[in-house]
Symmetry: C2
Subunit: 493 residues, 2 copies
């Protein structure tokens, strides 16, 4: 692979100036077009130490308008980063639509170093690369233009660079500080790099392999790659008609759904309820402290029909937990910063640190529920969301989070009764809106969306619990019980 | 003081239910009104451990709509928090306009504990309280409603509570875990609390002192405080006509300004420039690593006339610094999340960790420059901004940041020449807009705003440097030199 990148390509000074002067206005033009576009650009600048990544990034910032470029170096990870799922550190630095994010030491760096040092086996590395591939696909599916550049330098050149470079007083701890160590590691580095490139050289985000021994050649080549990628992406999007959305014919209409399996007659009387509430809240209180002591977190998702009793059930949970140990986040319309990002971004941004749980009152499942039914997301968007969501929850679980998901189910009659009651109670009146009445008319569509959601996303590591909600007392205890047992199963000792 | 809070006030169960049912709709109403209002509410819930702060916060969340309440517990500070100026941890959790933020263990907690343990002297505590007072004034000046509640419990009651409470498996390390230790500390705690309350019991954010031995009385009393404060604030704002803005007559017009003291004839030829550029960039490169080794950060502010060469000067700085060691942030129109916050919020949010510098291309000085001249800020707003800004920069410096501020000055003729040149260069054309031409017409207003800015905010710890910018080469070297010497002066060894 790399022999094709050690050919001696170079550009001399006078040609360089000419080429640069031709490219700069085109870079700026591409960037101006991007500013008005509905997608972001992510540049991954990868390659060996000593390949000139820093110098190249300087160049890009020099030739383009740095106002709309955010350069991120993932390097010394803070405890806030380490105490959250691995991709959190990248999500928090995602460029918004219309802007460019440069990623140095991106998601490739850690696994690359770990591959070279053999702290990851070849199989483990392959799995990580698969995860990267899926992550990048999710971004590009969302319209993001991913420009991945691999800078290659020869063994001699790298050695020279590392010796020449201004004293690197602080190094990434995974990088051997000594140029000689790099010299020795070079063959392994080549091998791991080849694995890394081939595993992630996909149609949606191909690698651009660049011979980087000569800085002039490197900079001109990458600038040309950027111009071509950005103008090509813009042209493709302009030409693309949005995919045809065939009206879905759903033969399940009128058939029972998974929700009909929920026994809505289950109920508790108030005396039983009081005893059980006390018991389970006490248990949850202790478990929340145990979680903190073991630095584990619960990610709890609360979904359900309007007026299903989500709010009051959540309150029975939060009553039990010290406010220092959880964050409750509720989702309504996204802000403009959120709209300028992938739909999962606004959930990632609220994940709490290890030892502190996050309760989501409505969640990423909006994508396959309200956004699907109301047509806010296209068919291709919500259909691929099942996979994106499973991947997201897998990352949470892999990090050590305990994912618990509740759908609170009630019957249409029960909902009607509650709507009417709310309209009559002065301090609950605000809870009922025209939208609630409109949603009610689409009951069957929502029920089928719930069924699909359960079918696709009730996984071993992040199962759904369908809660019988006609009796609120039953529902609250069921939720507390399920939470406690999910936590208990995961805690040590 | 506290003897007035040990009187035996209490509410029995049946009265409690009646009072609660009367208060809940009013709480909800106040919250609904807030959702449409242009300010935020911050509730500070303070008092001794064992006073029932947690239980009260549960109550507030139960009686109000938790969707628009964000409960924050400042407790275990992450390294990201510790490696930034102290107030950063609060700024990052400020509620947006229309919402309520509850602060537990707020800015009062650390200094309270430190006062009790005597790790702060009485004078040091007084200074911290003065800083708190100024911080709160800044928030309330911005329209924020600050509701500060102090829960008082007697020594016996506290002791009982601490013994009874569910096992606190994890404690704030500053809090004695043992109830007996609290018993012993109680008199000192009273004394420090009294100092804390009196020093910060201001007209703009008074303390509400609540006898908290009886939970029913505590909760009803606080609910009433919240209703009164929220409805009162809304009524006051509705009645207030915005302060009369007398047209300012500025007798300085036609007089020389501080900018006329800048010798614009200073210049470098290209050969000299090249040598000096290399020299100072090399020095800066090393200094940036030294800063990182000593975990110090530069906060550099770049302001100047349109076309003064800000961008190209910044690039000469960033070229010298490893991209892992700085973040360049540029400011244009605020996002809606930013507009829903105090104007300083969007600068606080971008502060980098210790060891990483932040370069601000335009800054908080917009408040006293463009916002003043264009009338985006009222007179009272921009006039008090000098003090707010000095306070902000003082916090940066107190934390160990090195604050360096540049105004790049050019003559009107030089600006005109550059505007014309930009219009003729294809890859610079985008840099010039109608707004630039309009701003030019207000040259004198801007010059006087700059003069006032320098007069008010060129402090010993954060001085302004006025850079002669007619010769770009001179300006770049002057900036690099100033930066290097400011860093050098601060570094150890």
């Amino acid at each position: 692979m790399f022999e094709a990148l050690e050919t001696g390509k170079s550009i001399k000074g006078s040609d360089f100036a000419k080429l640069r002067d031709a490219l700069r206005p085109r870079l700026i033009q591409a960037q101006l077009a991007l500013a008005r576009a509905n997608y972001s650009v992510i540049m991954v600048i990868a390659g060996f130490d000593g390949a000139g990544k820093g110098a190249l990034v300087h160049r890009i910032n020099e030739w383009m308008d740095p106002r709309r470029i955010d350069t991120n170096a993932f390097w010394q990870h803070s405890d806030e980063e380490q105490s959250r799922p691995r991709y959190w550190r990248y999500w928090r630095h995602m460029p918004p639509k219309g802007q460019i994010g440069i990623m140095m030491g991106s998601w490739y760096q850690a696994c690359g170093y770990d591959g070279i040092s053999e702290s990851l086996s070849s199989e483990e590395l392959a799995l990580e690369l698969q995860e990267i591939e899926a992550f990048e696909r999710m971004l590009t599916d969302d319209g993001t233009l991913l420009i991945k550049v691999w800078l290659h330098v020869s063994r001699d050149r790298q050695n020279m660079q590392l010796r020449e470079e201004a004293p690197l007083k602080m190094q990434n701890p995974r990088v051997p500080a000594d140029p000689d160590a790099w010299w020795d590691k070079y063959p392994e580095a080549l091998e791991v790099s080849a694995q890394l490139i081939t595993a992630t050289d996909s149609s949606h985000s191909p690698w651009h392999l660049v011979e980087a021994n000569n800085p002039n050649y490197r900079d001109i080549t990458v600038a040309q790659i950027i111009v071509d990628a950005m103008t090509g992406h813009a042209a493709r999007l302009a030409a693309d008609t949005p995919p045809e959305q065939p009206a879905l014919v759903d033969h399940r209409k009128g058939q029972p759904t998974v929700l009909d399996n929920v026994d809505l007659s289950q109920a508790l009387d108030r005396d039983e309820y009081k005893i059980k509430l006390r018991k389970h809240q006490d248990k949850l209180q202790d478990l929340a402290w145990d979680l903190n002591a073991q630095q584990r977190s619960v990610i709890a998702v609360f979904e359900g029909w309007d007026a299903a009793g989500k709010g009051s059930a959540i309150r029975r949970v939060t009553q039990a937990i010290d406010p220092r140990l959880y964050k409750l986040v509720q989702y309504a319309a996204p802000s403009d910063e959120e709209r300028a990002q992938h739909y999962l971004w606004r959930f990632w941004r609220n994940l709490q640190r290890d030892g502190r749980s996050t309760l989501f009152d409505r969640s990423w499942y909006g994508r396959v529920l309200v956004e699907r039914v109301e047509g806010f997301a296209r068919q291709d968007e919500w259909k691929r969301a099942y996979n994106e969501i499973n991947m997201f929850e897998k990352q949470l679980v892999d990090h050590g989070n305990i994912v618990v998901k509740f759908w609170i189910h009630i019957s249409p009659d029960e909902q009607l009764a509650r709507f009417k009651a709310r309209e009559n109670e002065p301090h609950k009146h605000y809870k009922i809106t025209d939208e609630d009445w409109r949603n009610r008319e689409k009951w069957e569509d929502y029920a089928l969306a719930v069924e699909d959601m359960v079918a696709h996303t009730s996984t071993h590591h992040a199962p759904w619990t369908l809660v019988a909600g006609n009796n609120k007392l039953w529902a609250r205890i069921d939720i507390l019980k399920t939470l406690c047992s999910a936590i208990k199963k995961e805690l040590k000792g």
